[in-house]
């Protein structure tokens, strides 16, 4: 009873959320990073990053290994701090609220800011449908018709429905690597997050599967704000609207070199470092 009520009120809240635009805010900014630093114990993996992430577009983080791009990505939904000894400084504001504010529950943050991981990680003890519904289960929804509808819709959005519609009850790990990753995307968008973080989502996949995921990203950005970390510069050029280039400093901590529209970063970068990296002179 109570949980149904909760769900209903949440859906209502979501409806109003879409219709209001706060006056006086820059309408296109999804996340505002100010002096974000990520530490592992005493090691500073990310040095003071300030960055704006545009809403409903794809932002790519690129840079050589060890430049802190994945670490920074993991600060955006407070995943970083789940590792032992890991801490974050600075502020990340989403619609005027600092994610690291004292009243914010990190668990709650992660529901609205979803994450797709480097290695496809469907839950082995769950079927395909259960995998997609796992986030709904967390928010208290029991398996019913509504859930089945959301599962189907999410799988359609993730371009996986036609491949799995006849075997929804088979284990998620029975799928191929590319399908598994799309299943993970479906799982992430099933809970209607506003922002989806992707940590090198194609690095474990073959070229064909990669292409499918990239197409999918293009479709998803009309609805979601996407931040993607990638090793692959061509991928960043293909899928992203904005690119942020990171590098590793002399103290082995990562820092933001420059950010801008992807076309500009790839054709006419301001910084010499970026130019060298794009040209493949290091990294």
């Amino acid at each position: 009873m109570e949980s149904e009520q909760t769900t209903a009120s949440k859906i209502a809240a979501k409806a109003t959320r879409r219709d209001t635009t706060a006056v006086g805010e820059k309408s296109h900014i999804a996340m505002q990073l100010t002096d974000v630093e990520a530490m592992y114990g005493n090691f500073r993996a990310v040095n003071k990053v300030s960055l704006e992430i545009e809403a409903r577009s794809v932002t790519a983080f690129i840079g050589p290994s060890g430049c802190g791009k994945t670490t920074l990505l993991r600060t955006l939904n407070r995943m970083h701090e789940t590792l032992p000894g890991a801490t974050v400084k600075g502020s990340i504001e989403v619609s005027g609220v600092n994610l690291y504010g004292s009243s914010i529950d990190p668990v709650r943050v992660r529901r609205s800011i979803g994450m797709v991981f480097q290695k496809p990680n469907p839950f082995p003890a769950m079927s395909i449908a259960q995998n997609v519904a796992s986030g709904l289960r967390l928010s208290g929804m029991k398996a019913n018709k509504k859930v089945a509808e959301i599962v189907e819709e999410s799988l359609r959005k993730a371009a996986l429905w036609d491949e799995v519609k006849d075997k929804l009850n088979e284990p998620g790990i029975s799928l191929s690597g590319g399908q598994q990753q799309r299943l993970c995307i479906a799982r992430t968008i099933a809970v209607e997050p506003e922002i989806v973080l992707m940590d090198e989502p194609c690095s474990a996949l073959d070229p064909l599967a990669t292409l499918k995921i990239e197409e999918l990203i293009g479709e998803l950005k009309t609805k979601y704000t996407i931040v993607i970390v990638t090793h692959n510069m061509q991928q960043a050029a293909r899928v992203s609207d904005t690119t942020a280039f990171f590098n590793m400093g002399p103290d082995r901590g990562g820092f933001l070199v420059e950010t801008g529209p992807t076309t500009k970063i790839f054709t006419n970068p301001t910084n010499k470092l970026t130019e060298d990296y794009i040209a493949g002179r290091f990294g």
Partner: protein, 290 residues
């Protein structure tokens, strides 16, 4: 993209009643899990406390060096018996266990190795009383109630411990090491001894020490085989005392002095078991075998 511009993102991180309930459930369950961890170490401290408080008063050099019939009474014969029988048993069990572990990991086909694994499992699962029963039936008619029969009963229990550990640690030796040696033209058996086994030596020794620890801690098989004796002697042809047997036999006595001997012997045995296990523990804490 000719659609009307979408409204700005509005995220609301406030908690629904459901979220608050989840948070509470989480806190309660984590407390319960923590409590389970605490509960599981309580017996250790209780046992430690009781053994020390009851065993320490009688502990002294004379307790360790005197025989049971001397005044003050001691358990030197039991200590000797435990050590001698365990020593004989490990002399027999270590080569069999190590050799078998080597064969199963280095030579056997996958199928044979799997069958071997199953065999070790079954042997590890054999209750110690059955090893005693076996030695009693098969060997007491020949060797009598003696240190020898006790040692053989212990051997049966130690072999699978050594073999399992050997097999497990050899499996952890990187294939690259073997191949590097084989590529130099070193024959397989020499590679196995001088490269593979040497690399895994500390792990293999762990298995041997664990087996010794098991041998020193066994009671039931010795009750049926070496039985007990008051003689201070290391003659394996006669019945022999052991620390575990002393504890067992004195435990049920109504004479507080005899029970005190059981506690003090338990203290000695406990300290020995602890030293043996601590010595191998820190090396193997992350790849222990079961």
């Amino acid at each position: 993209m000719n659609q009307a511009p979408l409204p700005n993102i509005r995220l609301d991180f406030s908690l629904t009643p459901h979220d608050i309930r989840r948070r509470r459930v989480n806190q309660i369950m984590l407390r319960i899990i923590q409590a389970a961890a605490i509960v599981s170490v309580v017996p250790l401290f209780t046992i430690l406390f009781v053994i020390f408080s009851k065993g320490l008063p009688q502990l002294g050099l004379s307790f360790l060096l005197n025989g049971p019939l001397e005044q003050p009474t001691g358990i030197v014969n039991a200590i000797q018996g435990s050590l001698v029988m365990t020593f004989i048993a490990i002399i027999a069990a270590a080569p069999i266990g190590i050799g078998g572990g080597i064969y199963l990991n280095e030579y056997a086909s996958t199928r044979v190795a799997r069958i071997g694994e199953l065999f070790i499992d079954i042997m590890l699962g054999v209750p110690s009383i059955l090893a005693g029963l076996f030695a009693y039936f098969a060997l007491v008619p020949i060797l009598g109630h003696s240190g020898w029969t006790g040692s053989i009963a212990l051997t049966v229990l130690m072999v699978p411990v050594v073999m399992r550990t050997t097999q497990e640690v050899l499996r952890l030796v990187p294939a690259g090491l073997r191949e590097a040696s084989l590529a130099l033209g070193v024959p397989l058996w020499r590679t196995t001894i001088f490269v593979t086994c040497r690399t895994a030596l500390s792990g293999i020794m762990t298995g041997v020490v664990l087996a010794i620890s098991r041998g020193l801690g066994e009671t039931a098989p010795l009750l049926l085989t070496s039985q007990t004796s008051n003689d201070v002697s290391i003659n394996l042809g006669q019945p022999m005392n052991a620390m575990t047997v002393v504890i067992y036999q004195n435990a049920t006595s109504s004479d507080p002095q005899i029970v005190a001997t059981a506690w003090t012997t338990a203290l000695v045995l406990f300290v020995v078991a602890l030293i043996l296990n601590v010595s191998v523990r820190f090396k193997t804490v992350n790849n222990r075998v079961f």
